[in-house]
Amino acid sequence: MHDVNKSTGPVSTGPDVASGRGRALPISVKSLTKTYGAFNALNNVSIDIRSGEFMTLLGPSGSGKTTLLMVLAGFVRPDSGSVLFGDDEVLLLPPHKRDIGMVFQNYALFPHMTVAENLAYPLKLRSIGKSERQDRVNRALDLVQLGGLGDRGIDALSGGQRQRVALARAVIFEPRILLMDEPLSALDKNLREQMQFEVRALHDRLGITTVYVTHDQREALTMSDRIAVINDGQIQQVDPPQRLYERPKTFFVASFIGETYRLPVDVTNGTASLFGQPIKTGGPLESTALQQALILRPEMLQIADGGPGPDENQMTGTLRQTVFQGDSIVSYISIHGDHEIAVRSQHRSNQTLPVPGSQVRLSWLIQDTVILPEDDQT
């Protein structure tokens, strides 16, 4: 890479935080609040993003994830709170003094400039001489595999190429932080999956602190170091993808990521029981509420032949229907009358499937047992 210590932004007056690779900075958000009239876009949001981390803000539309990103970028002014880049409070700085790279959903490439001119725009603003400018534009084009396309107009590019130009433009001036707002949502599925890897690879190469907004849980799980799930202007949970999937902390997180089913459990003296039958848990329950729910995922359940193993819970139900889906088989099972759950099992050619209407035992590991208190929002 280029000389990473060179001062490129107008804001490098603060102490240069030497953290990990490059000029990456940690971000610390404290008690951000933003209301639009009666609507709470951000409700006392606090989150710490580590230096060089790939953090994804995941949530449905209107959850506040884009608002949070725009606050980081400086385009939305919150009502109160604090945003630190390293040790510097940036909340009162205008966007152009924050030294951030940004990729918008629609790329926001300048149509009145060529690809190279687009890339040179931030360099010109930093008064970088012509020859170095050209040099860096070429290197950036190579970085996103667009070498030789510098003279093209924006109209002459495909969707994927535009995406790459936007990406190159956002990092060419070596910003300390990279913000992306659903950058892949306009691409078709195959290209999107390919670009997910490319974006992640670029992040790893530059070591830049990245905040990525998406509503696509799969994308979030694939790319992120950690994911912050946001709903109704509040952060629900911040965890690495696997932990988020396995140990959701709220119903919202459980239902937003992956397929989940819920069964009601009664809790007495710290022990949960499902329709009168006690359930073993990995640790003490987080809540003492009397009415709680057991969260189950189709692929964590197994149709068992015998009784439960020492590390398993078990329940019985009636098989309603099985659906063959090629790589897997989904069985719909009703538990205790009117509760239906699904079980996904691997397809094996010599497998014999239980007949609909028959009783089946379902077992799942104690470590996969997630019990959450019923909340009022669902």
Binding site: K30, R77, D79, S80, G81, S82, E89, L92
Partner: protein
């Protein structure tokens, strides 16, 4: 981290201050335009209003009472007559034109639109002059009609109400057609197919489906033409030949000929109130309509 012991939410005051500064900066961009419009439109009109109610002997309604004089009444009637007539003729001529233009292929439609835009861009005076040349006693139309033997003596076409009406329709037609055309372009023609499918004849479908859907564009055109006609000066002054006295001409005459500021300002205030009243009523009406349509 000792500075975080705030009783106030973090940065609240500073952010508020910054938001106010930004709004002030954004609004200040319109300051030059505002100063111009304010000092040359808003203040003078306020002044006119003042002149109309405040005479040499203090507050007075005299200027408005004088407007009840028969000669002013005649002007008022002429003005409304002309405005209604011009608006009616614009509907008759403009609606079919906009209707056809909205259904033509792009190339033909743009040709038609060009014909509508051409008068729009040509000087008002030039067009009024053209009509003078065509309509006067020894003008083209009379000459042709006499050459063809259709009439023996020249018709009185210019310097009267007829000439004024023709000239005004010509001036106003583009104002009517353009908004109507725009609204017709947004009509979903498959609705007419659906109506036909349900058993409506083309004529019925037109009146029951198409016309109601274009009402907002029609309304905009009608209001625009009517309001512009009410305050029109140039064309009636030239094509009317002094025989058609419009409200705007009355204002100019009170001021320039009689230097009667009281009358001129009262006439002006009445014209303004009528204009704004009609626009306001129309805005309320379409607002109510669109809220019913649930847009």
């Amino acid at each position: 981290m000792t500075a975080t012991e705030h009783t106030e939410p973090l940065n609240k005051q500073a952010l508020k201050r910054q938001a106010r500064t930004q709004q002030r900066n954004e609004l200040s961009l319109s300051l030059p335009a505002f100063i111009l419009v304010g000092s040359l439109v808003l203040v003078p009109i306020g002044w006119l209003f003042w002149l109309s109610i405040y005479g040499a002997d203090g507050f007075t309604a005299e200027n408005y009472i004088r407007l009840l004089h028969p000669s002013y009444k005649k002007t008022l009637i002429t003005t409304f007559e002309l405005a209604f007539l011009v608006t009616g003729l614009c509907i008759l001529l403009g609606y079919p034109l906009a209707y056809l233009a909205s259904q033509l292929k792009p190339r033909m439609a743009s040709l038609v639109l060009l014909c509508v835009l051409f008068p729009f861009w040509t000087s008002l005076l030039v067009r009024t002059y053209a009509w003078l040349v065509l309509l006067q006693r020894r003008g083209l139309i009379n000459t042709w009609l006499m050459d063809m033997g259709l009439i023996d003596a020249p018709l009185k076409l210019a310097h009267n109400f007829t000439g004024t009406t023709i000239g005004m329709v010509h001036i106003m037609l583009p104002f009517f057609v353009l908004p109507l055309y725009a609204s017709m372009k947004t009509v979903d023609l498959s609705l007419l197919k659906a109506a036909a499918n349900l058993g409506a004849s083309p004529v019925k479908a037109f009146w029951q489906i198409y016309v109601p859907l274009t009402l907002s564009g029609l309304g905009a055109g009608v209001i625009l033409v009517f309001v512009l006609s009410l305050g029109f000066y140039v064309t009636p002054a030239l094509l009317g030949g002094g025989r058609v006295m419009m409200w705007a001409m009355q204002i100019e005459r009170s001021m320039a000929v009689y230097a009667d500021w009281g009358a001129a300002s009262a006439l002006g205030v009445v014209l303004l109130v009528m204009t704004l009243g009609i626009l306001w009523a129309f805005a309320r009406l379409t607002g109510a309509m669109s809220s019913v349509e649930g847009k």
